[in-house]
C-alpha cells in the first residue's frame, strides 16, 4: 500500500515536469504580443509583406457594377458598412473613397504584462496621446479597417475596390471580400462582375 502511494507520488512528480515545461513555454515565449507579429526590420520585408500574387488579390477585391450613379453606389457602400457595424472615418464623394473601422476582440491580456501597466485597459486607442507610438497594442490589433474606392471604368460602368486590414495585415483571403460584395450587391440591387 505504502509502496503504491510512493509510486503514484513519483508518477505525479514526473507528470509535473511536462506541465511546468508547457506552462513556462506559454508564459515566457508566447504570451508577449510582439511574438505574434513579424519584426519588420527593413524596408524590403515591408515591401514583400504580401505573400499572395497582387493580381489575384486585386481581382478578389474588385467588382464592376453596371451603373453610373456614383452617389447611389457610395450610399449603398455606407449602408453596407453600417450593416457591418463599422464607423465611417473618411468619406469623399468626389474622390470616391470610403474608409471605415471596427473593433474585433482578438487580443486579451491573459497574464500580467508589465509593458501595459502604463495604459488603462478601459481607454480606447484614439484617446491616448501616444496613439501612433508605443501604446495599447491590444486595441491596435483589434482594429479592422476597410477602404472602399469607387472609380469610373468606362462610360457605363463603375469599379469598386475594397481592401481590408485585419490584425495589422492586409486581408488576402478572397472569401471576406466575396461576402462584402454580396452584401453590397443586395444594398445596391445590382450584380457586380469580376474584372476579366
Amino acid at each position: 500500500m505504502s509502496a503504491d502511494r510512493s509510486l503514484s507520488s513519483r508518477m505525479s512528480l514526473r507528470m509535473l515536469l511536462p506541465t511546468v515545461l508547457a506552462g513556462a513555454a506559454l508564459l515566457t515565449a508566447c504570451s508577449p504580443y510582439e511574438m505574434r507579429h513579424d519584426n519588420q526590420s527593413d524596408a524590403r520585408t515591408q515591401i514583400w509583406l504580401s505573400e499572395e500574387s497582387q493580381v489575384k488579390i486585386r481581382a478578389a477585391q474588385t467588382r464592376v457594377f453596371d451603373t453610373k450613379d456614383r452617389r447611389k453606389l457610395l450610399q449603398a457602400i455606407v449602408m453596407t458598412l453600417q450593416d457591418l457595424n463599422c464607423k465611417i472615418d473618411v468619406l469623399d464623394e468626389e474622390l470616391g473613397i470610403v474608409s471605415a473601422k471596427k473593433y474585433v476582440d482578438l487580443e486579451q491580456p491573459t497574464f500580467f504584462d508589465p509593458s501595459y501597466v502604463l495604459y488603462r485597459p478601459d481607454t480606447l486607442l484614439f484617446l491616448t496621446r501616444t496613439y501612433r507610438a508605443w501604446g495599447p497594442f491590444y486595441h491596435r490589433s483589434d482594429l479592422v479597417r476597410l477602404t472602399i474606392t469607387v472609380r469610373d471604368r468606362n462610360e457605363s460602368q463603375l469599379l469598386v475596390r475594397a481592401s481590408a486590414q485585419f490584425y495589422l495585415r492586409a486581408v488576402e483571403d478572397p472569401v471576406p471580400y466575396q461576402q462584402f460584395f454580396r452584401t453590397l450587391e443586395q444594398a445596391v440591387f445590382l450584380e457586380g462582375h469580376t474584372v476579366e
Partner: protein, 154 residues
C-alpha cells in the same frame, strides 16, 4: 511497460504539449471568412435602427439629425450633405472614459419620405438595445418638430 520507457513517453508527451502550446499562442489570428459579412444579430436590429419620417427637405433632415445629436450631448465628427451621413461621438456616463459613437445616414425613400438609419457603438461593441435607438429617434422627432407619428420601417 518498464520504468525507462514510461519516462521517455512522459517526456515526449510533455514536449509535444509544450510544442503545441508554443505554436498555438504564437500564431497570428487569421481573419474569419465572415469578417466582412453582417451578423445575424445585426440583421435583427437593423429594423430598430431605421425609422422613416414624412419629410421632403433633405437639408432640413440632416440639420435635424445634427440638432438631435447635439441635444444628446454628442460632438459632431463629420457631416456629409451629399451622401447624407453624420457621425458623432460622446463620452458615456458614469465615468466618462467609455465612448459612444453614432453614425446616422439619411436617405430619400420616396419624394415625401425620408429614411434615417442610426448605428451606435459603445467602445468597440455595437449597441443592440432597442431602447437606445427609440430614445434617439424620439430626440430626432423632437428636433424635427414633427407632430405626426413616425412608423418603424420594415
Amino acid at each position: 511497460m518498464n520504468k525507462s520507457t514510461m519516462h521517455i513517453t512522459l517526456l515526449g508527451t510533455g514536449l509535444l504539449l509544450a510544442g503545441i502550446l508554443f505554436l498555438q499562442s504564437c500564431a497570428a489570428p487569421q481573419p474569419a471568412p465572415d469578417l466582412l459579412a453582417p451578423t445575424e444579430a445585426q440583421m435583427k436590429i437593423r429594423s430598430l435602427q431605421t425609422r422613416t419620417f414624412d419629410l421632403t427637405d433633405r437639408k432640413a433632415a440632416i440639420r435635424g439629425v445634427i440638432a438631435s445629436l447635439q441635444d444628446l450631448g454628442f460632438i459632431i465628427e463629420r457631416a456629409n450633405e451629399g451622401l447624407g451621413l453624420v457621425t458623432a461621438a460622446r463620452f458615456a456616463e458614469p465615468n466618462y472614459y467609455d465612448v459612444v459613437t453614432i453614425t446616422v445616414t439619411v436617405r430619400q425613400e420616396t419624394t415625401d419620405k425620408m429614411s434615417f438609419r442610426a448605428n451606435a457603438i459603445y467602445n468597440n461593441k455595437p449597441i443592440e438595445d432597442p431602447k437606445v435607438y427609440q430614445n434617439f429617434f424620439a430626440a430626432l422627432q423632437r428636433a424635427l418638430f414633427l407632430s405626426q407619428e413616425s412608423t418603424p420601417s420594415s
